[in-house]
């Protein structure tokens, strides 16, 4: 014991020697684990963007048509809120205009999933402990996670640059780098969040909230300014991506903003990563109650999901208020052209522009609520695969009752979100709340179909349960980008939302609403029947 005195105690907190040791092995581990997920993300997202010029050529065959649509649509505040301003009427320019926000958001989601998956999630499961007991430096897991995100974003950027190269090399590269840049920016932000919180779910939630805020800031900024010059737009990384002006006299220097932000966030994340104990976080976790009041499977489900419901609810209310506030701009439209009206009618149905705008926003809320319902239903899947369902089901709890707890929160929660979103729209626009709320509730029929689909997949094809994300993502992409691409009605009809009346404005049609509700109920029933018959997943 005398060999080391108290003076030889621990040196000031440092990352230790060789903090990056083992990064290569961890990177290979991550790429091996994600061998299916990463290529799928990159190819689907990059492929969708790369194939845009084809459909745009069909839609607007002449330069005059393109110039007309750009002129009319980019002078409209509410359309700018959705897509951002158009800087060019070339095919490449229109592609960039339509896809830059969409691509940036998707790259952000992909990146935050990758980074949290390979950092905080590894610690939460205890796998990191065993890895770090081998020759793995304290900063190696974060480095490997960021490199994995870099591989994915670089592949995405290259795919876009190559796929759109025919429209102009510089523009294609700029768009690719801008989208990849947003991805890496949120990758490093997720890297920070993973150091701050003890839970992977919370780290993902915080980063996703920042991404949603970036979208909302850009939308609000672009609603007011025609050339992306608003301060709000410049506060948003998604706004930076748009302001690189791909295919329209590219502003390369904007890419430097990404580089700067990525470096700054990366340095912060690295500093935090080397300084903390494994499994611990900088934001302390509060102790829970010593005695539990959870009585049944249902109240457990609510306890598990209430944080998520609260977060989504606040988001819907705030987004509703913001979109509602833009309704005025839609009404006294500067460039009230035939083309704009046409596009709005495709999105929101034939009615006054105010109503059409509100209907389009209600539709957006509905499609996003479909993501909520899928996420909430699939909690059943994650509870089951993490083997937390097994001990619950070993009690006097039937499978149906266990599932019902989560389904009530999914389906009822979706109704709550739409009411909150509708209230927000009514408050923001100053319109009568009744018709708006009615319009929001009609969307539920479409939303519930996705909840039903997720329930069916979980109950009958549990290995493919995550495909419900793909279905709701496709519906979102169809609803968002489909109208502007003039996709054939048969393709648009794949989305259940396409069949619903575009309220407020036109006559209520009950038939599709009832049909879709019955379809949703049928899917749920089939899913539950399957759940009763199949093996619980291990």
């Amino acid at each position: 014991m005398t060999a080391i005195g108290q003076t030889a105690a621990f040196a000031p907190r440092s990352g230790g020697s060789r903090p990056l040791a083992g990064t290569g092995a961890l990177l290979r581990l991550a790429l091996r684990r994600d061998r299916v997920m990463l290529p799928l993300w990159v190819i689907v997202l990059g492929g969708a963007i790369s194939s845009a010029p084809n459909s745009l050529r069909n839609l607007y065959s002449t330069a005059a048509e393109r110039s007309n649509v750009v002129e009319s649509m980019s002078t409209n505040g509410s359309l700018r809120a959705l897509y951002g301003p158009a800087f060019s009427d070339s095919i490449g320019g229109i592609t960039a205009w339509r896809y830059v926000t969409f691509g940036a958001l998707m790259a952000g989601i992909m990146s935050l999933i990758i980074v949290v998956r390979h950092t905080r999630e590894e610690e939460e499961t205890g796998r990191q402990e065993l890895l770090s007991a081998a020759m793995v430096g304290r900063r190696a897991p974060l480095t490997a996670a960021l490199l994995t995100a870099l591989v994915a974003n670089a592949a995405l950027a290259l795919l876009i640059a190559a796929g759109l190269g025919g429209e102009g090399r510089g523009g294609a590269l700029t768009l690719g780098l801008a989208i990849g840049g947003v991805g890496m920016l949120f990758a490093t932000m997720a890297g920070i969040a993973a150091q701050l919180t003890e839970s992977a779910r919370l780290a993902k939630g915080l980063t996703a909230a920042a991404l949603a805020l970036a979208f909302v800031l850009r939308a609000a900024g672009d609603a007011g300014a025609r050339d992306g010059s608003s301060v709000l737009t410049w506060l948003s990384p998604v706004g930076w991506a748009e302001n690189t002006r791909a295919f329209a006299a590219e502003r390369w220097w904007v890419l430097l903003l990404f580089a700067g932000a990525i470096v700054v966030q990366g340095v912060i994340a690295f500093n935090l990563a080397g300084r903390r104990d494994i499994g611990m976080s900088f934001l302390p976790t509060r102790p829970g109650p010593a005695e539990g009041r959870l009585r049944a499977a249902g109240s457990l489900a609510w306890r598990l999901q209430r944080g998520s419901v609260l977060g989504w609810g606040v988001g819907f209310l705030a987004t509703g208020v913001m979109f509602g506030g833009m309704t005025e701009g839609a009404a006294d439209l500067v460039g009230d052209s035939e083309k704009t009206r046409e596009i709005f009618e495709r999105m929101g149905g034939q009615s006054s522009l105010t109503d059409a705008f509100l209907a389009a926003m209600v539709g957006m809320l509905g499609m996003v609520a479909a993501l909520y319902v899928v996420q909430t239903v699939l909690r059943l899947h994650s509870e089951e695969t993490a083997q937390r369902a097994e001990p619950i089901l070993a009690n006097a709890v039937g499978r149906i009752r266990w599932a019902a707890g989560h389904l009530v929160i999914a389906f009822g929660g979706a109704a709550l979100l739409m009411v909150l979103g509708g209230l927000g729209l009514a408050i923001g626009s100053g319109k009568e709340p009744g018709p708006i709320l009615g319009a929001c509730l009609v969307q539920l029929a479409g939303i519930w179909v996705f909840g039903g689909l997720a329930t069916l997949l979980h109950g009958v094809f549990p290995k493919a349960a995550v495909a419900a994300w793909g279905a709701s993502g496709i519906a979102l992409a169809l609803g968002w980008i489909g109208p502007a691409l003039n996709l054939p009605q048969s393709v648009m009809n794949l989305s259940p939302f396409e069949h619903l009346p575009s309220l407020p404005g036109p006559e209520m049609r009950w038939a599709p609403v009832l049909t879709l509700t019955v379809v949703a109920a049928g899917l749920v029933a089939a899913g539950l029947a399957g759940l009763r018959r199949r093996d619980i997943q291990t």
């Binding site: 014991m1 108290q6 621990f10 907190r13 020697s17 581990l29 684990r33 890895l131 081998a134 020759m135």
Partner: protein
């Protein structure tokens, strides 16, 4: 003999919880050292500090002559660790995981890997999600035992293993000792500790309460004596180190601190002995004595 592990006055708090409260530990090179204590005593926290996963608030620690926090990566080339609860990646096979850990340490002995897989009856081609608790444990054990390292840190490594596999584990640890490797073994399986450990340290509430060979520890605890005497017992209760004396006629039962046994036997002999049984404390008694809340402290 050089020390593989030296820990002195280690403190570590999590918020208001003092997990380690001045813990000392000394492990000689080449020995199998048992690390024992009730749940929540601080065993796993100590091990995490030794692995450089946690940073102690104060105190000193050295592994293989180096600092566990600052030299973590270099040290881990020479250390293999098995936790009590192994989690694997869902879509990676057991064999992939074993080789990954091998690469992340000082390397893997191919022949030994094959031998261990056979002895533990592990199917290395199955994916992580399909392994049972015991089989996940085997994956980590094979990875650790096949690694070319100087020090094995095992934290309840046999949890979930069947008795047959526990036997395999024991012979593996004995082989490790024969090769001159040092093993720190945290375990609640007392027969395992008795069979394998040269010395043990018992900790409670973040402090070391006892350390030494099992023989030493036995010596420090009580022997139970029961005797049938010729005459009436005389003055037994006044002897030092005697407890729980129960006299019924000429039959006597008592507990005595083992180092005070001599005086008791002399006193009994004075009364004339008809029959005598004396049993050393069982390992269970030994541990219960140290684990139990208050009694142990008032030794």
């Amino acid at each position: 003999m050089t020390k593989a592990i030296t820990v002195a006055g280690l403190h570590k708090s999590f918020g208001r919880t003092h997990a380690l409260d001045g813990l000392d530990l000394a492990v000689e090179t080449g020995e199998v050292h048992g690390f024992l204590g009730p749940n929540g005593a601080g065993k796993s926290t100590t091990i995490r500090v030794l692995l450089g996963l946690l940073r102690a608030d104060s105190g000193a620690a050295q592994l293989l002559g180096r600092d566990p926090w600052n030299d973590a990566v270099e040290l881990h080339r020479r250390i293999a660790y098995v936790p009590g609860d192994v989690t694997l990646w869902r879509n990676l096979s057991g064999g992939e995981v074993i080789d990954l850990y091998g690469r992340l340490r000082g390397g893997l002995d191919k022949a030994r890997r094959a031998d261990l897989i056979e002895r533990f009856e592990l199917d290395p081609t199955k994916k992580g999600r399909t392994y049972s608790k015991g089989n996940r444990q085997k994956v980590a054990l094979v990875a650790a035992l096949a690694s070319d390292v100087d020090l094995l840190i095992l934290d309840e490594p046999t949890s979930g293993l069947d008795p047959l596999m526990e036997g395999v584990f024991r012979s593996c640890v004995e082989e490790e000792r024969d090769r001159g490797r040092t093993v720190l073994l945290s375990s609640h399986v007392l027969s395992e500790v008795e069979a394998l450990c040269d010395r043990v340290s018992i900790i409670r509430k973040g402090r070391t309460v006892e350390s030494g060979s099992l023989a030493d520890l036995r010596h420090l605890t009580r022997t139970s004596v029961s005797a049938e005497l010729v005459g009436a017992p005389n003055g037994l209760t006044h002897l030092p180190g005697v407890h729980d004396v129960d006299v019924q006629g000429r039959r006597v039962k008592l507990q005595v601190d083992t180092d005070k046994l001599d005086a008791v036997l002399r006193s009994l002999t004075e009364s004339g002995i008809r029959s005598l049984t004396s049993s050393p404390p069982t390992l269970e008694e030994l541990f219960l004595r140290h684990y139990a809340p208050e009694e142990a402290m008032s030794r």
